[in-house]
Symmetry: C2
Subunit: 698 residues, 2 copies
């Protein structure tokens, strides 16, 4: 049965990839529009390529170094070549998914603009399909990697799933570069370009004369497509693998022989098969996404997500009935195993909480709701009151998502113990094929709108791209909330795996181990862990400033040295150079926060031991969740408060109120697009690095 379930999941994942390629081909066959549109689109595509090429050079060195280090480790400590190969696969697959998703998104945008000349429905179709390509590629590659490794490494004697953790580690490492570097990149290009272009040279926003304008557009793809994709790829594989690792330790000890094998197969592969069902559910859900007029757009996208969720609830029940995963409630528990229906309920709860967190995020950030409108109103008394209320809104927005996650943890543990908490994360992420599709639709619609502006399309085209874009902002906000929620639950699942492995490691050496708040080491770790997201955020925000300065220098140089560029009388801007400068700045600036994330837990573990690291991870997770929610939601609310005013309320565009709101939006940029989302990676990467380095700890 072990091979059967693995192969079945592998095939479903392969079908997912095939579907992604099929949809990609459909997109490529669409009309690319006139020469002007194509020229601009080409510049964005080249810019994306330039970013990825520069990024991959750095990554190749990093991956090679870690690969060698892992190979040097001992196999009995779950290091050595098996972990190294898994790591290599994880990083390659994550990078590949990012490359393909971004390749597709930069090509879909121009076709979306062209389709908007015909109808809203046609434009939505392309933009959403591009998102689907990203979603299906991420889940397909993730599952293919996991099933392959679980087939090859399969061994009934060792907890071979620990080797598979290398895959998750590889995914996390790439995610760090993609998310943090991408976040710095996108805002550096945005801010740096505006400073010289709009303020110094006096040319309008999105003007092709500004060499940074393409970097700005590339930035949207880099941050919101590739960055978001890598983030969720990491959560996806992290949740599945940590469940498998824990499942190994929760097989009822009373079973022997075939019963034991069969129980182990169920517990190891339940998250894998469930995710495969999720691929099918996502596939089916995509057919629900169709809309002809603006009012139905948001409902169509959300309808697809709900349809996929319903399919998963039904399919998940079937899988549960067949596989019957019945784990122990806790390690070494002597009570009867947990009922498989309780495990199933945990999956459903995780799924529901994911959708709910997305909806709460929408409430706090949407321009149609009270919080963002309140910030808009406070802009009437100036920038200071706008900022104060934006910050307060972000802080207040933490409470419902936190309670939802806390209640999920409580109930899942009551119902199905540690395994329950882990499968809740799997459940939340199971429909990622479509939910990531809905997110990644946003930046495509955004870029399509930008293209329509830059190529001076007629008003009805822009109106259509604008309504696609407005809906894209909402789905992007939902996506950010979902990314944080799933990162939190995945970090907790990985944390459970850390606790289990630390306990086993200590037992091996006949040491006592506890993660109790009685222990001064744990409290010390908790404090230092809680501090890290604050320092990490500070570093990310400052990095944006520094990288933006490098961009300012380059744009000034081009205006100075390329004759006729600034005046628009000839002279072509060197977009690729600008993009490369920004890329290098971003990659350089993200080194320090990246090292902090990997080295902090490892150093802590070597000096103060496993319990201190446990505290560190706990502290970083809880304070990280708050900071991520605070910054993402404050940023989203500021953005939409500005849009609310731009829609003609409270004096509209150009008024003093609008100026105050623009200040808030600018503060929100590094909040929501750099520091906030980077913390998702921090939480997960720290935990996975600790899991891998565990045998080295004191």
């Amino acid at each position: 049965m072990y091979v059967f379930w693995n192969l079945l999941s592998f095939l479903i994942a392969g079908a997912g990839i095939a579907y992604a390629v099929h949809v990609f081909r459909q997109i490529m066959q669409r009309d690319q529009g006139d020469e002007k549109m194509q020229k601009i689109a080409k510049a964005v595509q080249d810019g994306g390529k330039a970013f990825l090429h520069a990024e991959y050079k750095v990554l190749a060195i990093f991956v090679a170094v870690v690969f060698v280090l892992l190979c040097l480790g001992k196999e009995e400590q779950y290091l050595g070549w098996k972990t190294a190969v898994a790591f290599l696969m994880g990083s390659t697959f994550s990078a590949g998914a990012g490359y393909f998703g971004m390749y597709c998104a930069t090509r879909a945008a121009v076709r979306t603009t062209q389709a908007a000349k015909t109808s809203l429905g046609a434009a939505l179709d392309i933009a959403f399909k591009s998102g689907t390509v990203m979603g299906m590629t991420v889940v397909g590659l993730g599952l293919i990697g996991i099933t392959l490794l679980m087939l090859v490494y399969h061994d009934e004697q060792t907890n071979f799933a620990n080797f598979v953790l290398g895959f998750s580690f590889g995914a996390s490492s790439i995610a760090l570069f993609a998310r943090v570097g991408g976040g710095i990149y996108t805002k550096a290009a945005d801010v740096g370009g505006d400073l010289v272009g709009k303020i110094e040279a006096g040319i309008p926003e999105d003007d092709p004369r500004n060499p940074a304008v393409i970097a700005d557009n590339v930035g949207d793809n880099v941050g919101d497509v590739a960055g978001m994709g890598a983030d969720l790829f990491e959560s996806y594989v992290g949740a599945i693998i940590s469940t498998a690792v824990i499942g190994w330790s929760l097989v009822p000890t009373t079973l022997t022989g075939d019963a034991h094998s069969s129980a182990m197969t169920s517990l190891l592969l339940y998250p894998v098969v469930l995710s495969a069902v999720g691929v099918i559910a996502s596939f089916l859900g995509t057919f629900r996404v169709k809309a002809d007029d603006e009012s139905k757009l948001s409902a169509a996208l959300f309808g697809g997500l709900i349809a996929a969720s319903v399919f998963l609830v039904i399919g998940g029940a079937l899988v549960t009935m067949i596989m019957q995963p019945q784990p122990l409630h806790d390690i070494g528990s002597t009570a009867a195993p947990v009922s498989h229906w309780m495990v199933y309920l945990s999956v459903v709860l995780g799924l529901a909480v994911g959708v709910a967190i997305g909806k709460v995020t929408e409430y706090y950030t949407s321009e149609k709701m009270a919080p963002a409108q309140m910030i808009a109103q406070q802009s009437q008394t100036g920038a200071a009151t706008n900022i104060i209320h934006g910050l307060a809104t972000g802080m207040a927005s933490t409470w419902i998502p936190t309670l939802l996650i806390a209640i999920a943890i409580y109930l899942c543990n009551e119902m199905a113990g540690m395994y329950g908490i882990c499968v809740a994360a799997v459940g939340m992420l199971s429909t990622l094929g479509i939910s990531l599709g809905v997110d990644a639709y946003g930046p495509v619609a955004d870029n399509a709108g930008g293209l329509a502006e830059m190529s001076h399309q007629p008003p009805e085209v822009r109106k259509r791209t604008d309504s696609l874009d407005a809906t894209g902002n909402t789905t992007a906000a939902i996506g950010k909330g979902f990314a944080i929620g799933s990162a939190a639950l995945t970090a907790l699942a990985l944390f459970s795996a850390y606790k289990v492995e630390a306990m086993k490691e200590a037992a091996k050496n006949s040491q006592a181990f506890s993660l109790s708040l009685d222990d001064a080491n744990v409290v010390m770790g908790l404090l230092i862990g809680a501090m890290l997201p604050f320092v990490f955020s500070a570093m990310a925000m400052r990095a944006v400033g520094k990288a933006a300065n490098a961009m300012v220098e380059e744009v000034r140089r081009q205006f100075r040295e390329i004759p006729g560029l600034k005046e628009g009388t000839g002279g072509e801007a060197d977009y690729a150079r600008c993009v490369a400068i920004s890329t290098q700045g971003a990659l350089r600036q993200m080194a320090a926060p990246g090292l902090l994330a990997v080295l902090a837990p490892i150093l802590m573990g070597m000096v103060f031991g496993k319990a201190a690291v446990g505290g560190l991870l706990g502290g970083a997770t809880v304070s990280g969740v708050m900071m991520a929610l605070f910054m993402a939601n404050a940023g989203g609310a500021w953005d939409n408060a500005k849009k609310y005013i731009e829609a003609g309320h409270l004096g509209g565009k150009g008024s003093e109120t609008h100026k105050a709101a623009v200040t808030g939006d600018t503060v929100g940029d590094p909040f929501k697009d750099t520091a906030g989302p980077s913390i998702n990676i921090l939480m997960k990467l720290m935990t996975i690095a600790s899991l891998i380095a565990l045998p080295l700890f004191a």
Copy 2:
């Protein structure tokens, strides 16, 4: 010996109070200046009285309700009349200290202005003496209360120190009103007054025609004198009493008879006697504070603090030698007790960390240092970059203080176990008599400067008050850092007491109890706890906005209804009415965050039990420390970045750069004076409320 040590400490505390009264009389004998000065000073004094009267009406009801509830509890659960009386004493003493300190500060300010007509040294003398009155009153009343209760409740069979916890609870409840209400009050008056006065009516700042101007000056005293005093009163008594509670449980179990009694006396009274030595050390330190010219001001104040610390280190060694406190390393430990010199080293370490945190705070907020100057430079590109860098500075500023606290916890635990962590808090707070004096000097100097402005004193007088004020800003920043550090360590000491009591309670009912991060309840608590400081801060920041609006209405009404007021042609502003409006607004707005602090842990405990509350307290403490440091230091840095520009750098007052810096300063106001310091109380009050309500938990 028990009675001897108690009486000795009681007498020293009494001498401290006597000294405070003596210094107060000295201040009152000084010249109050001309009629104009006296008139303005009178208005501030009446305003302060108006605030306290309104506050005490609310407090009386609150205290009465809690008193009755406590009386209804069972004595074997450490509730009942003993706890109720201790609670009543704690709240009365805290209120009394606040009243007296503020009474003195509002009278000292005008005399400082008058003395500044003669010399800087004379002015410093009065301002610092007023701070000394506050400092000595707080430590004197705190120690008198504790020693009295420990004498009367003394009982060798029960852990009677648990009844004394009521004193700490009373202090915390008052602190909540003083700190949160005061923080809302001061910023509501500041912002509300400016909005109508400066913007609508076009009259300058600090103009006596503005009815809110007195409320603004009262606010400085309410927030920085009474609020800070209540905050540190709470830390002071919390640290001493939690050490005593834990000391009871850490008496070596191998001892019997007299040896047992004597060991218990040492462990119970060591923190008390040490604090009494601190009163003497502070008294001696005050004589070092003398300066004739500006350059020596800061050194004189810091020199007094260091002198007191040296006296404490010497006196503490003597006390340690005589009392020989030798606790168990941990509850139920079978190892040999800890050496008393290790206990002593923990005290010294706590003292050193307190001074160090203050100095780090000074670095991050002083206008002479890089961080604030960097924010000033970033103001050149507008308000948005000013805000981004201010936020990043605040976030980055968490790292050194957190590491200092974490290292202190680690080392104290290694040296002297749980008792070591608790006495470190006592050590940090032992010289409070002078360190609070140095803090409370700031607002007096500030008010003296305001009085000099309003009463149009000659330039040399203003120059002197300005240099007093500048130094006051630095010492106030140091004081805020110290308040956060001591709140963190006190919260951890109280948390240790919670763990011990929860364990004993569970053992009594033969239940297992652990605070392990394995337990889903603890993790759930940790998450919710980490969320509370964010939501609490959001509430506090919004409360400022709402209370400011009420103030705006009242100022408008007075301008409308009192003939000749606005024009300055007659008509007296109704300051008291304005002060009362602001007070009521503040008291009304602080009810919700206050209830959150008390009810969250109690509700959590009743529904989810002791372990969940343990997680909640841990989460709230670690995220609270970060938020408090972040907000206080960001606010301080913004304030001084503005002052740096006003001193003539980067374009000076009135430039665009200055305008951007003013925006940052306004955002910083509720950060550093309302939300940030209120979190100190949140951490401590939640823990003390949990300790008191522990027997009611599931």
